[in-house]
Structures are given as C-alpha cells and as structure tokens.
C-alpha cells in the first residue's frame, strides 16, 4: 500500500503529539511520587552509613523519615571548615537540599559541603558519628556515597555507596552491603595525622584486615573501584579542615578530662 505524502506527514504529526502527551502526562503524574522516592532514598543512604542495611529495610518509609528526624542534625560547611548558613543571595541553606551532584561541577573552593551528625535521641550535642557525603565518577556515570566517621574522626563507622549507571553485578556491587562492610573499622588518617584515605585494591579475595587503609577490591570492576578511591580521597581532603576542627576539639576535651 503506497500512501500519499500528506497522509504520512499527518500520521507522523498525530503520532508525535499523542506519544508526547502520553509521556509528559505520565511524567507529570509520577513526578511527586518519584520526588518522594528520591528523598526517601537519600535519607536511607545517609542512615545507611550508620545503621545495618537490614534494619533500614525493615522500617516502613514513615518510620525512616521519623527516625531521621529524631537522630540526624545537619549543617553545611565550606572548604575551610567554617559553617555557612546563608547562600550568596541570603537564603538559608538546608543541608538535605544541597545537591551534591550540582556542587560537584563547581570548583572545590566554591562548593557547599553538608555534614550530617548522628546523635542520641533528643540530644544534639551527644555526637555518635559524623556523616559526610562524597561524590565522584565511576565507569559510566556518577557515583556517590556517605561516609560515617566515629567520634575519633578517623575510624570509619560505615559507608554507603550509590551509582547512576554502573554495570549490574560488576561496578553496581558497590551498593552491596557485603562490599560496603569492608570499609568498617578502617582509618582515614595515619598515626602521624596525615590524611591517607582508604583504597580499594585491585583483585578480589585477599585479606586486608591488618591494613587500616586498604580494602578488598571488586573483581571485574577495577575502574569503578578506582572511582570510589578517588571520590573518597577527594572529598576527605575537602572536608579535612572541618575534620581537623572536630579532631582538635575532641582531643582537647580528652586533655581536659585527664586534668
């Protein structure tokens, strides 16, 4: 059947309009649900750095949000470790709303660095751990995560990683709890106080339990692992000034208590 050009053009126009309406309609309808899913996911990831994965997945979405409300306080610091409360236009900054990915595109000096404090219920001063967001590049696309430090500001309490498009079963394994558990108890500063970060090694199946700065690698996903290494190293150095203030603060307290 040979149709006229007019028919073909009319058909194409109608098809484009119908499909376009269908897609934009769905996108409009689903947008609020998707936004909630993203927000819940972010808070789950922040909590994931300090809680067991099973514990979080056992919680209903409402319980996650309530727990977050009760136990996490947040602030934003700059590269020098100083707290910033207002952006350049004078609007208050909320750490949860800081888009780490957008900030990643700016130069490190201009970025806003959110800090999430995990504290005892109802007492914002009793810090249990400090949670820092990290962001970088994997093999295909962005990767990000949250790193929780214990109160000595050097031992890792836990990490959680996320990714946009790493290969399922390979690079995407950075989201697996058994991979993230490899970071628990590792140290980011060495004995002399230098920042060394923690590096994932090439190859998988070796035991690095005696080295506080190395973790077992991901077989078949070395580039993603390198991305994770760079991400941790970069962001820890960006947060270094802030961490130093925390560190000196806690050590002077120790001195005070000894006296």
């Amino acid at each position: 059947m040979q149709q006229s050009n007019a028919y073909i053009i009319t058909f194409s126009v109608i098809m484009t309009v119908v499909l376009g309406l269908l897609l934009s309609g769905t996108s409009q309808v689903l947008a609020p649900i998707q936004k909630k899913a993203v927000e819940l996911d972010t808070k789950k990831q922040i909590l994931g750095a300090v809680l067991e994965g099973e514990k979080i997945s056992a919680m209903s979405p409402e319980e996650v949000l309530e727990f977050y409300e009760k136990r996490i306080s947040s602030k934003v610091v700059d590269i020098n470790g100083k707290e910033i409360e207002k952006d350049s236009d004078g609007n208050p900054i909320v750490a949860e709303n800081v888009d780490i990915g957008k900030n990643f595109k700016k130069s490190p000096e201009e970025r806003q660095y959110p800090v999430f404090i995990f504290h005892a219920e109802g007492d914002e001063d009793s810090v249990e751990s400090i949670i820092l967001p990290v962001y970088g590049s994997g093999l295909w696309d962005s990767i990000w995560g949250y790193l929780a430090l214990q109160t000595d500001v050097t031992t890792i309490e836990g990490v959680t990683f996320g990714h946009a498009a790493e290969t399922p079963g390979l690079g995407a394994r950075i989201t697996a709890s058994n991979v993230q558990a490899r970071y628990d108890g590792k140290q980011i500063f060495d004995d002399s106080g230098e920042l060394v970060s923690v590096r994932m090694q090439k190859g998988e199946g070796k035991d690095y339990s005696d080295d506080p700065h190395k973790v077992d690698g991901l077989s078949g996903a070395t580039i993603t692992a390198n991305g994770v290494n760079d991400m941790l190293k970069n962001y820890l150095s960006h947060y270094k000034e802030y961490l130093k203030t925390k560190k000196s603060g806690s050590s002077s307290e120790e001195v005070a208590s000894i006296n």
């Binding site: 058909f11 098809m15 993203v38 079963g169």
Partner: protein
C-alpha cells in the same frame, strides 16, 4: 511473513477457540524450537549485559515481556493505518515510549530496581527481538495473535537470560537471587572447606560460554542445523 498472514486469514473463518492449537504454538514455538536467542541469535547484547545476577535479570525479563506485548498490540491495532514507508520509525517511537513508561514507573514505585537497572531498561529500545517481532508478525496479524506472539517471544528470551543468569550468579558470585549458596554449602563441610567463585563468570565472557553451552545442548537435542 507472507505465509503467516495467509494462515491467519484462513483460520479466521470459523470462530477460533481462545487458545487453539495454532495459538498455543505462537507461545510455545519461541520457547525452544524458534527461540529468539538460541535459534535466531537476536538480543545477545542484553543477554550478556544484565545476566550477572538473577534479580536484575528477573526485572529485565518482566520489563521486556511488558514492552513486547504492548508494542505488538499497539502496532497490530494500527497495522492498517501505519504508512509503510515510515513504519520502522513508527515502531521505534512506540517501543521507545513504552520503555520510557517502564522506566518512569520503576523510578516511582521500585526506586532500588530503577537505580540498578536504568541503563539496561533504556537498552530494551535497541533489543532486536522487539523490533523483529513487530516487523515480522505484528504488522501482518490480528491484535490477539500478536499479543500471544509477543508474549511467547518474550518468554523465550526471558527463560534463556534467567538460565544464563542462574549459572553466572551461582558460579561467579556463589549465590542465587542474592542468597549465598556457596557459603551455606561450605558451612556443611566444616570451616576449612570453601568453594572458590569463578571471576570469569562475572565478566561478559562467562555469558558467552554459558550461552554457547545452552545453544549446543539445545541443538543437539532438537537436531537444528543452520543453513
């Protein structure tokens, strides 16, 4: 394609039962005898890419079934109005729309799966099986038959990728659906006993080997020879 069309016209005369022998064949043929992956050797790219673990493979299989059934239905309903000169573009537009819908729905209701699979869901658009069935069947057959055909082909695709994923996850990661089988097995034999996982299986090469073995076994059984 022409024989299939003629056949469909023939059986139209008498009211055909909902699942007649011919219609059952539409579903069962692509499972083994005319399997899109092992016989037609289509859709290999996604069969290699998603099959490192069972769970994402399962979601991928369900998504492909949905997209194929809906695309076949849509194209079949429109088959007499689609201008033949732009039919490929029309098919592509329909598939792309459906795939985007799947992606949006996953993002809203199964965010964890969306995070894991989003790249590969997008790749359904380029899965040659989908377009192959639209071009070869849906354009020339009635909607209900086309739905069955799409469902059959998608099932044929699904069970193969699930089989490949089963062996790759078991041998490569020592687990099935994320359940650590190797750990459980070695636990039975005491502490010194442990099973090593095969790193080759995690890489795409592993999928080629498994797929090759499946094709070999299948062709030995059915006696199928390529001409």
């Amino acid at each position: 394609m022409s024989t299939e069309t003629a056949q469909a016209a023939e059986v139209k005369k008498a009211a055909e039962p909902l699942l007649s022998k011919r219609r059952k064949k539409l579903i069962s043929d692509p499972l083994v005898d005319d399997n899109p992956i092992t016989i037609q050797v289509l859709g290999i790219c996604s069969a290699l890419a998603v099959t490192t673990q069972m769970q994402p493979t399962m979601v991928m299989a369900i998504s492909v079934i949905f997209v194929m059934v809906m695309a076949n239905l849509t194209i079949s309903l429109l088959r007499n109005t689609i201008p033949s000169r732009v039919r490929i573009i029309v098919q592509l537009a329909v598939i792309a729309t459906l795939v985007t819908l799947v992606n949006e729905v996953l993002k809203a209701f199964a965010f964890d799966m969306y995070k894991e699979l989003s790249v590969f869901i997008g790749l359904i658009i380029t899965n040659c099986i989908v377009m192959g069935r639209l071009e070869a069947f849906a354009l020339g057959n009635k909607p209900y038959d086309s739905v069955l055909d799409g469902f059959g082909s998608a099932l044929g695709y699904s069970w193969i990728i699930l089989a490949v994923a089963f062996f790759r996850e078991l041998l490569g990661s020592g687990s099935v659906f994320g359940v650590p089988v190797y750990d459980a097995v070695s636990g039975l034999f005491g502490e010194d006993f442990s099973l090593a996982t095969n790193g080759l299986m995690v890489s795409p090469v592993g999928a080629f080997i498994i797929l090759g073995l499946i094709i070999w076994v299948q062709r030995t059984k059915t006696g199928y020879v390529e001409h």
